[in-house]
């Protein structure tokens, strides 16, 4: 069953077509990898789903509800029940780890913020870093804080824009393991952008291969052998 549906989406930037009449279905509770080279339009798709960009044409549905239409945002980003992990993580540098995670909760006036944040920190095993600032953490710890910040708001969809690209294999494996646990725990749908074929084959439930703003292959076998 689809949770996200892109229907004939076109998007151009500075008169250059980034996406042309692109259609894509993303299944609920699955990890879908958007795979493609630089400039193929992967990040743009994530940003369109999040509501950070407006499509020039076509429709975007989340849970069968139109969220973006031709040149308009119908459901604003904060109401799409999505979490977004940016490539640069976008941790607020002037906030501590605790504040980074609790800031969104404060805004939504959730009860017992402290407990919620510490539960999340405990899950990742980074409770001790609650009072530290992002620049005092390692790359892997920063990734975990960014994921914790997104998940604490209980999104249904997690959009991830190559967040693990700069990590060593061991840390990457550890975080991917956490993601699998979290996906099952929260019934998450994950849309993950990467250009790493091996990573996609290994971890994806579904893969959409993008070439020059068009889906080349969708849901192709994860057992497919990818040349080095």
């Amino acid at each position: 069953m689809s949770i996200i549906k892109l229907e004939n989406i076109s998007y151009s930037y500075s008169e250059e077509n980034v996406l042309e009449e692109l259609s894509l279905d993303i299944k609920k509770n699955k990890t879908t990898y958007l795979l493609g080279d630089s400039g193929s339009g992967k990040t743009t798709i994530l940003r369109l789903i999040a509501g950070l960009e407006i499509p020039n044409g076509g429709k975007i549905f989340i849970d069968d509800k139109v969220v973006s239409d031709d040149n308009s945002i119908i459901v604003p980003p904060e109401k799409r029940k999505t979490g977004y992990i940016f490539q640069d993580l976008a941790l607020w540098p002037h906030f501590t780890v605790f504040k980074n995670i609790s800031f969104g909760l404060e805004n939504r006036k959730k009860p017992d913020i402290k407990k919620t944040v510490f539960d999340m920190l405990d899950f990742f095993g980074i409770r001790n870093f609650a009072k530290k600032f992002p620049h005092q953490l390692s790359g892997g710890q920063q990734q975990m804080v960014a994921i914790a910040r997104a998940l604490v708001l209980e999104p249904e969809i997690l959009l991830m824009d190559e967040p693990l690209a700069n990590l060593d294999t061991k840390t990457k494996t550890k975080i991917l393991h956490y993601l699998t646990l979290l996906k099952n725990k929260y019934n998450l749908t994950i849309v993950y952008v990467t250009h790493d074929y091996k990573e996609a084959i290994k971890n994806a439930d579904d893969i959409a291969l993008l070439v020059n703003g068009k889906i080349q292959k969708e849901n192709f076998s994860t057992k497919m052998i990818v040349p080095d």
């Binding site: 999040a50 509501g51 950070l52 980003p77 904060e78 109401k79 999505t82 979490g83 977004y84 940016f86 490539q87 640069d88 993580l89 976008a90 607020w92 540098p93 002037h94 800031f103 969104g104 805004n107 939504r108 992002p134 620049h135 910040r149 708001l153």
Partner: protein, 519 residues
Amino acid sequence: MGRKLIKYPIYSITLVLFLIFIILPVLNSIRIAVLDSHFFENINDIGSDIEFLLLKSSFLSAMVAIISTFFGIVLGFLIYKTSVTYRKYFKIILLIPLFISPYILAVAWKDIFLLFFDKIENTNSVLAIIFVHSTIYIPLSILIIGSALVNVSKHIEESALMITGLRKMFTGILLPLIKPAILSSLVLIFIFSISEFSVPAYFGVKVFTTEIFTQFSAFYNYNLAMLHSSLLIVVCVLFLVSERKYIADSPFLSVGTRGKTTKIYALGHYKNTGFSLLVSSTFIMIIFPFLMLIYQSFEKGTDSFVKAMELLVPTFGNSLFLALTGSVFTLIIGFVSAYFSIIYRKILLDNLLLFTFAIPSIIIGISLIKFYNTPYLNGIYSGFWIIIIGYVAKYGFIPAKLLENAIKQLPKSLNEVAIIQGIGFTKRIFFIIIPLILPSIFAAFIINFLFCLSDLGTTIMVYPPGTEIMPIKVFTIMANAPQSLTDSMVLIVFIFTMLIISLLFFIFKKIFTSYNVNY
């Protein structure tokens, strides 16, 4: 349009207020000048004299721009890109002339010139103006060029140094990369110089701005003054618009936490030469004029100094209040303009700020008087608000530009992640954006505070009776006062400004030394 106004209420309100309080008076002035029954006579009056004056002013300002930018490149490179001794201190010290009223240096330098020449003839006076203006605007060039130099990635320089020598890297890589900053420096200094009238007035040289001032103040020929002003507006706006078109998005002035990865060159054998050059510049631009003012003030005892103190002390409070209020308002409008132009690409306010920045102060002053001197708007005309409006018109562009560059340096994702998390507009501004660019905000505040404190061009036209401030007091008295009294007054303003600069610098250091925002 209506929907858009509701979408960005803060921007729309600021824009509408700016249009009503500032743009409308300027356009009204042009309208009156054009609709005047003597318009065609006035056009005919723009004869060879006026053309000559415009050419003279343009030549003078072009020379100032070229000289200042040349020294700006040399000194900027020394301070920002080499390991010359005490470069951190020179970075601050050499900015001082920019923040003190130009007439202060005019008074000091005229005294110095008179030591060497019995009389300063007209030709020499033009050279003197070029010299004095250059010493004032070299710091601006250092700031612009320095900001550009530190933003060049050291990897670019290092990869060039792998294949060529230092000299070729400098001329072939570094200079072309900072070309937009060089162009900005030339254009901005040209505009500052052509708009400035206190230095030519003090040296008794007739230039275009002094002519406008005379037409307005002495002959009360408002329409002719406005017609002449229009010519100057056209020249300045054309220059600034073409500069903007050329440099596109290149930052021309930034104060922030970036530039930490800039390459610093060891001067080796040239270390002493570099240091001497900076010391000489400090002497010429600051210490020498300062010593001269002290000498002239106390040559015949302390009477003049005491008298000057009596005259100036009552103006301190007013000056500080107006500069503080002016800088707060310019900062607010600058922030709104910067935020919306970078995040939402709303550039109308930004362009209007550029337009009023390009208009010489004296013309803004005339426009404000003409517009607000009516029974309905007398509340503004006869109070301090007219001065604040003048400050916003003249200096609003500076914080806008500084903050634009600061916001541009923030990763877009920091704001976007907050949007996705449902954090509202106000909270995003006050908890995310402002804390992240706080050093730039404070720096913009300090810079504008000092500009407002030393402003003469706008204030001299619009100040209402009873609103006495330092530059006005000095300028009105010095026409008929003994030289020692003028020197003493100027010395006091100089010291007062220096104390303020030191205090603000100390506060800045105290607050932001440990303010480490890594993004």
